[in-house]
Point group: C2
Chain length 239, copies 2
């Protein structure tokens, strides 16, 4: 008779501040014999791990880095999800639980979603439980001190990959628009905000939740500058 | 010489589960001599307070209920924000800090935004610090086990008050749409989802984070039923 497999908890560790973990995430992290942590390349630093480093106990916990090279071609990525899912399933097969660390929240632009999908497809008997974390959307709003939405307002959240006209449409119809990882397209977004006359309702937050966090109120001063990869722009139509 | 006023922390207590507070929120809550908690009417139960009840120590903390009657006419509401802001300012004037409890996240459809605005206008010397919490948006996605957004997808968050054609527009252009407090308009939303052929990508979560939480996969079974006020609908175009 074989034991039922362990549970995989996908825990959101928040945007950077170790205090922004939930009590539940911390409890599950401390109780887990195995901790999976994603890295972009072999040997690279895991951002999610660095956030929770002080809670880890490598003397009694097995810390396993899983490589997710987001620059692989499509087929290579699929193979990686597959291989990583198998590594996790093998670990759970002994009946012990594990956690998978994820920056921010596990359901929003997260590696965890892919891991969970591959794991569910290959090993339908494994139980997967996401545990919410504070996303950059909420943390940036708190840092900037601006509401995401109030009353009957509407909020849109967009990734760094959006097209000109569709972005304009969203900026014209939503009360608040949060643009994540905006660095690579910042100047063109700035042009559009100026054309729409809403640049004064925009605030940029970089490295939210980290000691080097910055909040920039007048985003026009950032034109032409090289912005940090972790830059979040919040645009309020009626600030 | 007068002391500088204390700091007001607006802390998000999450959607219902006391374990979904952040470590930071719990630390600030325990350290606060004064805890402000919103109630809808005098004598009513404070939902935010009930979430953190087990962390409170009324023997050494002053728990102050503030009434925010959301059904007051506009002018009555403005007077309430004003009066409540003064109560808070008076408390902070002694130099001690206080926390203001808020369900979910303090920057998303929260009483705190109004309190902070009134307080900043009347008492610009008071320091106000929002502390993020898990919102129903993230908690419902975790409960339902569906991603909010992945890759280049876009997310929209709408309150219960949205109009027919504008809602259709959002449902047609966003990958994920989260409708909060959807109970009062549920049947008409269901009609629209069926017309658009996306009803199978919809999941309803009621009382998210509470012991009585429910996740309904086939939302068509809910037609004509009286839904709980705390019902969140997540619609994925491509589930």
């Amino acid at each position: 008779m074989s034991l039922p497999p362990g549970i995989l908890y996908g825990i959101g560790v928040g945007p950077g501040d170790p205090e922004l973990l939930t009590i539940k995430a911390l409890r599950l992290l401390k109780a887990a014999p195995v901790v999976f942590t994603p890295v972009a390349r072999a040997g690279a630093r895991s951002l999610a791990r660095s956030i929770v480093e002080k809670y880890l106990e490598p003397s009694r916990q097995q810390i396993v880095e899983l490589v997710f090279d987001m620059h692989d071609e499509h087929e290579g990525q699929a193979m990686r999800w597959h291989a990583n899912a198998r590594t996790i399933a093998d670990s759970l097969a002994s009946g012990t639980n594990a956690v998978f660390l994820t920056e921010g929240d596990p359901m929003l632009y997260s590696t965890f979603v892919h891991v969970a999908r591959a794991l569910a497809a290959q090993h339908p008997d494994v139980k997967i439980v996401p545990v919410s974390g504070i996303s950059a959307v909420h943390a940036a709003a708190a840092a900037a001190g601006v509401p995401l939405a109030d009353g009957d307002e509407r909020l849109a959240v967009l990734p760094a990959t959006y097209e000109g006209e569709r972005l304009r449409d969203v900026l014209e119809t939503f009360d608040t628009v949060v643009l994540l990882k905006v660095a690579s397209v910042f100047d063109s977004v700035l042009d559009m905000l100026e054309q729409l006359g809403i640049v004064e309702g925009a605030i940029l937050v970089t490295r939210c939740g980290w000691p080097e966090e910055q909040v920039v109120i007048d985003v026009r001063t950032l034109r032409g500058q090289r912005l940090d990869y972790f830059s979040t722009l919040i645009v309020r139509r009626n600030p």
